[in-house]
């Protein structure tokens, strides 16, 4: 099942490792949105944005593993700075180059309906302030950065 490494203070990162399976994406959403609302003063709509971006990154990570590799794991890492928080999602799949993804036709083009996939990355880019895809030793790491007000001293997990 999931392994949650907790942190002693707000400065310490938190890691969550989940099996690379679709049913665990809800857990990742739950943990990240709980951390965001407990540790930072972020408006609810921004927490929703982060939650969706993390969900998209996890979905992408799980799909990178393909259907047969159910033993694989996805590693989420939460870290914070004074004015930012970062969630990275790392898979051990075969890698993803966003530049290789086909462009969607304009929404007014009837051909647009032929594209059911590929909305995840544009969503991530709109929802958080920075999105980076980097190759890692295991696979691909997606980093999602959101700028936000400094953590208050009175906030405890």
């Amino acid at each position: 099942m999931a392994v949650l490494s907790s942190a002693r203070s707000n400065a310490d990162p938190v890691e969550l490792e989940i099996p690379a399976r679709a049913e665990f994406v809800a857990l990742a959403r739950l943990v990240v949105s709980s951390l965001a609302s407990a540790r930072r003063q972020i408006p609810d709509d921004r927490i929703d944005d982060l939650k969706l971006a993390v969900s998209e990154a996890c979905t992408s990570a799980i799909e990178a593993h393909g259907a047969g590799e159910v033993q694989e794991r996805v590693l989420l890492r939460w870290s914070e700075g004074d004015d930012r928080l970062e969630v990275s999602v790392e898979d051990s799949g075969s890698g993803l180059d966003p530049a290789q993804l086909p462009d969607h036709p304009p929404v007014t083009d009837p051909q647009r309906l032929n594209f059911e996939r590929g909305l995840g990355i544009p969503l991530m880019r709109s929802l958080v302030d920075e999105v980076d895809f980097t190759p890692s030793s295991r696979g691909t790491q997606v980093s999602l950065v959101m700028y936000c007000a400094p953590a208050g001293d009175d906030l405890e997990v």
């Binding site: 679709a22 994406v25 809800a26 959403r29 969900s55 929404v107 309906l113 059911e116 544009p122 969503l123």
Partner: protein, 133 residues
């Protein structure tokens, strides 16, 4: 919200409690005027979206070609869910039908706005408006 006057063509689906995170998705079908209303409750993501896709495919194969998907009970919708709706619309258009949406929740509408899909789907404020005329 669900309209109490709707006559369900089948009983509400038992809520699924699969896995350990209460990933509930319920799909309730009702007929209203000449439309089939599919009311979705819960979270639509990579795990639950296949059930929504199956239900839509099933309705189309039953000859239901004017489908209204009511998203007012949806707490979370990601790109997988959007993909299923786009796929449903494509399938219906090929039968000269249509798939329209009911959605007033800002956080769900935002997902359609970001992806430009507000220009692809007719989005109504209520089931009444979506099934009028």
């Amino acid at each position: 919200m669900a309209d109490a006057r709707l006559a369900p063509t089948e009983g509400p689906l038992a809520k699924h409690r699969e896995g350990c995170f209460n990933m509930d998705l319920s799909l309730d079908v009702a007929e209203r005027n000449d439309y089939t209303v599919l009311a979705v409750h819960g979270e639509v993501d990579v795990y639950t979206a296949p059930r929504l896709r199956e239900r839509l495919v099933e309705l189309v194969s039953q000859g239901k070609h004017q489908i209204v998907v009511d998203l007012e009970g949806v707490d979370f919708l990601d790109s997988t869910g959007l993909g299923v709706l786009v796929g449903g619309l494509k399938r219906l258009r090929s039968h000269d039908g249509d798939l329209t949406l009911v959605c007033t929740q800002p956080r769900i509408l935002k997902v359609f706005e970001i992806t430009g899909l507000t220009k692809v789907f007719a989005i109504h404020e209520s089931v009444e408006a979506a099934t009028a005329g």
